[in-house]
């Protein structure tokens, strides 16, 4: 990995972690819904990254979030899972096999597939997060409500950001 891209990743990760722990973790609508927007860092992994570095970045991001809460390992486990499935989910929503390096976004995937991609990534990550968090799994109705509502909230936030990012930045990296 090139040093610049490494530093940029580090900066982006730090920014998202701070956003999550200082502000977003404070949000808890109806006692159920907390947006886990830091997942944005993982959904933007580009296809040039090795599986190892994806997993390690995912794990470290989750662990850093955990450092700010009292549940060590919870976010680490969910984001490692998200980083593991990311390449396969991208492939699932890409119209055809792409040779060039891509960052998942509207320009590379199209609006519809992008929405599907973001939704599936969020659903898997949030399901892992809320299931692990709710062990012993007693109240299924509440757990399902948490997963569904939080997934929707994070998804909407990420989709909105994805669309606005590409509007303001028409030049795509080759």
């Amino acid at each position: 990995m090139e040093p610049l891209s490494f530093l940029k990743k580090l900066g982006s990760m730090t920014g998202l972690v701070l956003l999550q722990v200082l502000f977003l973790n404070r949000i808890s609508l109806f006692g159920y819904v907390t947006p886990l927007f830091y997942l944005w860092f993982i959904v933007r992994f580009d296809s040039s990254m090795s599986r190892y570095s994806m997993l390690l970045w995912g794990f470290v991001t989750g662990l850093l979030i955990d450092v700010f809460t009292a549940t060590p390992g919870l976010n680490a486990a969910s984001s490692t899972l998200a980083a593991m499935i990311q390449p396969s989910v991208v492939k699932l929503f890409l119209a055809k096999e792409r040779r060039e390096v891509i960052i998942p976004g509207r320009n590379t995937m199209g609006t519809g597939p992008l929405a599907g991609y973001l939704f599936l990534m969020t659903l898997v990550h949030h399901s892992a997060y809320f299931l692990l968090r709710s062990i012993p799994l007693e109240d299924w109705l509440v757990i399902t409500a948490k997963i569904v509502l939080s997934t929707l909230l994070t998804f909407i936030a990420m989709f909105a950001v994805a669309l606005s990012v590409e509007k303001s930045n028409q030049r795509r990296p080759a």
Partner: protein, 264 residues
Amino acid sequence: MDFIVRHAHVFLFIFLETLSLILLFGLNDNQRIAFLTSANRLSGTFLEWRANAESYLGLKGENERLLKENALLRERLLSLSDSLELERVKVSSDEVFVLARVIDNSVRKDDNYLTIDKGRSDGVEQGMGVFDSRGVVGVVNMAGSHYSVVLPVLNSRSSISCKVVGSGSIGFLEWRGGDPYKAILVDVPYHTAVSAGDTIVTSGFSSAFPENIPVGTVRSVEQHRMSYTLNVSVDLFVDMSDLRWVYVNSRKSDPELEELVGKH
């Protein structure tokens, strides 16, 4: 061999997930991993910074509460000094309260935690009781060197030994999620007289809290015919969503007492 090379990342995945799950389930209550929670220096600094920014918003209410507490303390001091003169009570000097600031807090989750800006270097240790001018807040769950994580009443894992003023019946204060102003006193003996409006205070049976720290008032009493105990619904005195300064009861615990009473 080719298979292993192509799927080597799967092993890394399994390794990282195992590590996460060990952290999550194996060591969640362990002091050694306090640095992996908000009891660590890094997050403590950031959370403190945010708490500083937010503290200006609640200054007026905070001031009023302190003034009220001050008045109450003066009143108690007067009556205490009278009784001290009369009975020459020896005041135990090892009962020290550490003043700490709440730098992170939640009430809307089903397992809430709060972080305070005092840790082992200030004499705070795991298992110590935390309360404020209004009443019981929780128990220190993990103590880092400068910050600690507190398991508040509003956590499903919290259980605090309490008694009903008057009848003296004992029970454990627990929380079942939902309303952050309401908790339940469980395992209260069936035959005891408890009625709405009674005051609940700490029992002093564990070393976490001294006796008679206020907890709340009885809202309603429900009879559990199967187990011959009462479930007492309690309105908490402390508004957990509005916590800024708390006291940590840093009295050294008596190992012999701990052993006799068990975990509670």
